[in-house]
């Protein structure tokens, strides 16, 4: 029997107080996610239960009980507090998926500071804009990533502490740097957890838009109410489960469902911190007897490419529930997983801004392969007419996915950008920026983005950010960036550039430009292809017509070109 039981029954008279009651929370109480994910589980008698099994490359392995993660959170929190970090301060977690990332997250929250996780593959410029916007006071990182921080620290006046968790003493620490070793620190048994309330800020995740710099999505401790119940009902996490969420906590799935979800439910989770390999992934599932697996379409399609033989080499009989998030899960992937695992991947849909799952295929539900499923109980999801912003009643008619505001884990604002935050709401609806249809049975079907943001491997990349970075390359005169279809990643970044006088179009230059963006922004943002052009298509007023280039890549009708600049 799944946790949700009957979806139809649960949506009747649903109230988020179900989650509040299970968590023992009442309006006005202290609510601290760090406490809920560790101390509370210990108080429930599960202090010795395994909370965290971690494996790195080359057989490195660590294991923690709930009491261990409670102590680690206390110890890191105490250390930060000793530096003078206080509630409301932003503390960036800039690490690979090592234990300090997960445990540091708890420590930051326990002192009431705001956790700002950032993807460790970010280049120095991506890091800079996010730290500058958040006025981050401390960054916790690893030796291998500190070079990127050193490049930008002098232009970040608010950054006071660069905390290195694996400093080996071989090279001297530099300005603002301090070494902290969790394994060498005295565990802190008694800790005065900061009494955060429902609306106290907890996490700041950055997301990209079509224009402007990345936006810091502010979440609060009350988001736990949504994350807890969606984990229970959608991922169906149960007490004896071994759970594996493959997402990196540099992104929202990795925190909402890669830290908060399993630990707030007292469930054991596994993490594999290595590069992708189908054999290693299947071996990890078999070795740890993983029961619930939450992954992403890009990973699933990569596993499909590796073939069925890779599956047959391993005993995957422990798996009982599979879910996916990040981009629409294509029907072929659902059908394939049913065939090779005997279990369908259940697609889930949500965003950094929503903080928790909004639309989903529930356990026990009749899955329509390729569909996003139905709204979580308590979520009012509709398709709006793009012109009138009124809900469309007619089935299968495309429009904008929108939600009625008020769910617990909804973002509270964009950091220092209230104006853009307000622009996400029209006629009392939150606009997701995605387009879909609803069929006659109430299932949502993804159609596409409503803007130019590129969804590559489940991560959003801003064309504006890449175009701006391209212009910083000495050879590039003009740039336009669009999504290009891709079998594995759904979309990848493609750039069109014109060159400055004195530079010649060549494969060598293309490679140099690709690497320039990879290091400056991230591997995700690196154009997988660069096309040289003599001129970019522009309107008569000189604006680059990205739309035309996008249509060219997708084989679509280019539409109205009456405003196109004359091609002299």
């Amino acid at each position: 029997m799944s946790n949700i039981g009957s979806y139809e029954e649960q949506i009747k008279d649903f109230d988020w107080s179900i989650s509040e009651k299970e968590l023992g929370y009442k309006d006005g109480d202290v609510i601290n996610i760090g406490w809920y994910c560790s101390d509370r589980i210990c108080e429930m008698g599960k202090a010795d239960k395994t909370a965290f099994i971690w494996e790195g490359f080359g057989g490195q392995k660590k294991q923690y009980t709930f009491n261990d993660i409670r102590l680690a959170g206390n110890t890191i929190g105490s250390y930060l507090r000793g530096l003078g970090i206080k509630d409301g301060d932003r503390v960036c977690l800039f690490m690979d998926r090592i234990p300090e990332l997960y445990l540091g997250f708890l420590g930051v929250l326990k002192i009431g500071a705001i956790a700002q996780p950032l993807f460790s593959a970010f280049g120095d410029e991506s890091l800079h804009v996010r730290l500058e916007n958040a006025e981050t006071r401390a960054i916790i990182t690893q030796r291998k990533h500190v070079k990127k921080v050193r490049k930008i620290r002098d232009s970040l006046p608010h950054l006071e502490f660069i905390i290195i968790v694996d400093h080996d003493g071989k090279k001297p620490l530099q300005e603002k740097e301090i070494a902290f070793s969790l394994k060498d620190a005295d565990p802190v048994e008694e800790f005065d957890i900061f009494p955060t309330k429902a609306e106290s800020p907890s996490v700041l995740h950055y997301t990209s838009g079509t224009t402007g710099q990345p936006k810091g999505v502010k979440h609060v401790h009350y988001s736990l109410i949504g994350q807890y119940l969606t984990s229970k009902w959608v991922l169906d996490l149960q007490d004896d489960d071994i759970y594996w969420c493959t997402a990196d906590p540099g992104w929202v799935t990795g925190t909402s469902y890669g830290i908060i979800a399993p630990w707030s439910l007292g469930v054991t989770q596994c993490v594999l911190d290595t590069g992708f390999s189908a054999d290693a992934w299947y071996g990890f599932i078999a070795k740890h007897r993983v029961t619930v697996w939450y992954s992403a379409p890009t990973a699933i399609r990569s596993l499909m490419k590796a073939g069925e033989e890779a599956v047959l080499k391993h005993d995957l009989s422990s798996l009982r529930h599979l879910a996916s998030v990040g981009e629409p899960l294509n029907a072929e992937a659902v059908i394939w997983s049913e065939k090779v695992f005997g279990l369908a991947f259940h697609d889930t849909y949500w965003q950094t801004e929503t903080g928790a799952i909004m639309l989903t295929n529930f356990p026990g539900m009749n899955i329509k392969p390729g569909s996003m499923g139905k709204p979580f109980p308590g979520i009012t999801g509709v398709i709006l007419d793009p012109e009138t912003h009124e809900p469309i009643q007619e089935p299968n008619k495309p429009g904008l996915i929108a939600f009625k505001p008020g769910w617990p884990s909804m973002m509270r604002t964009y950091w220092n950008n209230e104006e853009t935050f307000q622009s996400k709401f029209v006629n009392g609806w939150y606009l997701s920026g995605d387009r879909a249809t609803i069929d006659q049975d109430g299932y949502f079907w993804f159609v596409g983005r409503d803007d130019d943001v590129i969804n590559t491997g489940g991560h959003l990349v801003s064309p504006f950010e890449v175009e701006s970075a391209l212009l910083e390359h000495e050879a590039v005169a003009e740039s336009a960036v669009v999504a290009k279809p891709d079998d594995v990643n759904m979309e990848v970044v493609k750039a069109f550039v014109t060159l400055k006088p004195g530079f010649n179009q060549s494969a060598e230059l293309e490679l140099k430009i690709m690497n320039f963006i990879r290091k400056k922004l991230s591997p995700l943002a690196m154009p997988q292809e660069i096309e040289y052009m003599d001129n970019l298509p522009k309107t008569r007023s000189g604006k680059i017509m990205r739309r035309l280039l996008h249509a060219k890549e997708w084989g679509e009708d280019i539409g109205d070109t009456s405003t196109l600049e004359d091609d002299d």
Binding site: F57, G58, R143, S302, G457, N489, L511, R518
Partner: protein, 82 residues
């Protein structure tokens, strides 16, 4: 052969290795070891194609084929022979 191995190894160290203290060799796992991610693999492929004037079909550019310098050399040689 030795030249090609060293050229590719040096390129990987220069372009992808974040930890300058990390020692890598011809058999160090690059993809499964997390040194080169799947997105960056495209730039490594582009480097090989440019450097050795070859064209590697996408279906041959698998994570397994790119996982070590030795396996990359084997892949490049396959296309150099054509």
């Amino acid at each position: 052969m030795a030249d090609m191995k060293d050229t590719i190894l040096e390129y990987v160290k220069e372009e992808y290795l974040e930890d300058e203290d990390e020692e890598i060799g011809y058999n160090t796992p690059l993809i499964s070891g997390g040194i080169v991610d799947s997105f960056s693999m495209v730039s490594l492929k582009k480097f090989l194609e440019t450097k050795y004037s070859i064209s590697i079909p996408d279906e041959k550019a698998s994570p397994e084929a790119f996982d070590t310098v030795n396996s990359i050399v084997e892949l490049v040689n396959e296309f150099l022979k054509d």
